[in-house]
């Protein structure tokens, strides 16, 4: 039974719960918008990296550079799309 619950995913799961609780603090604490958003950005991206590396085994195969390259490139384009649109339409710059 024990071999079915290896340390790495168990630790990953515990860490993801901790990250969720830290993110949740912005709801209960009276933080400024900037401080709250900073916490959310950090916890969300750490959480995503955790899933990518621990659970999706992204770095294990021979083609890991192609996999990481593809994912990071798409995240880069996604951020340009989101932030670029906000720049033009919301922040009015």
């Amino acid at each position: 039974m024990r071999e079915l619950f290896p340390a790495k995913p168990v630790m990953g799961f515990v860490f993801s719960l901790v990250l969720t609780l830290i993110a949740l603090s912005v709801y209960f604490l009276d933080l400024s918008f900037t401080a709250g958003l900073t916490i959310l950005i950090v916890t969300a991206f750490v959480q995503a990296l955790l899933q990518l590396i621990v659970f999706m085994h992204a770095g294990e195969s021979k083609d890991k550079w192609a996999i990481y390259g593809n994912v990071y490139f798409m995240i880069f384009i996604a951020l340009i799309t989101i932030l670029g649109t906000l720049f033009l339409l919301i922040w009015d710059m």
């Binding site: 079915l4 993801s16 959480q47 899933q51 999706m56 996604a78």
Partner: protein, 198 residues
């Protein structure tokens, strides 16, 4: 087919390796799909018209339950892949079933949430904000629904054919999909709900 025994079963043939890589490219496209939804949401989240704002309709408890369910299901599908690598077919199917049940419960809570929104006057056509909110959440929910059917089919195939390079490859790809849905939910949880209630 040539099997490479130095690799885990799901990576044991060249075709499997390419299938898995192909699925990563598909996930790249999925990142863009959700990025465009987030773009529209952030652009329209203050256009509430005469309808309610996010802070007025979001409730923390169902959102926390959904987050916990999806995080746990992401953990159990990870354990399923681990059991698969040990060749423990029964344990693997067990973890698959738990994952899908958690997914189903998630979907139940989300449907409750949608009914609640419509009930408090935040339907699809109320305002630009509600339209974009429900489209973004709904797209994620549809992905989960699709995953439930897909996962069930994989369980049936493994029961029928056992753990082969083919079924192991399919299971691994399904686990990638499921983890990806969890990642998307983390962003919805952080930047739609928590940011909206801050």
């Amino acid at each position: 087919m040539k099997l490479d025994h130095s690799q885990p079963l799901e990576y044991s043939t060249h075709e499997n390796e390419l299938n898995i890589f192909g699925f990563w490219i598909f996930l790249g496209a999925e990142i863009m799909l959700f990025a465009t939804l987030f773009t529209s949401y952030f652009t329209l989240e203050n256009r509430v018209g005469s309808g309610p704002s996010g802070a007025e309709i979001f409730e923390i408890s169902p959102v926390l339950i959904e987050t916990f369910l999806l995080l746990t299901s992401s953990f159990t599908i990870g354990l399923a892949v681990h059991a698969m690598r040990l060749g423990r077919q029964k344990a693997m199917i067990g973890f698959f079933v738990v994952t899908l049940l958690l997914g189903l419960t998630f979907l139940g809570v989300e449907i409750y949430e949608f009914v609640h929104y419509v009930h408090v006057g935040a339907g699809l056509q109320t305002s630009a904000f509600t339209a974009m909110l429900l489209t973004t959440l709904g797209t994620h929910g549809l992905h989960v629904t699709f995953g439930l059917f897909w996962g069930t089919m994989i369980i049936l195939q493994i029961r029928k054919r056992g753990l082969t390079a083919q079924t192991a490859g399919k299971s691994f790809i399904f686990s990638l999909y499921w983890h990806f849905l969890d990642v998307v939910w983390i962003f919805i949880f952080s930047f739609i709900y928590l940011k909206g209630m801050m």
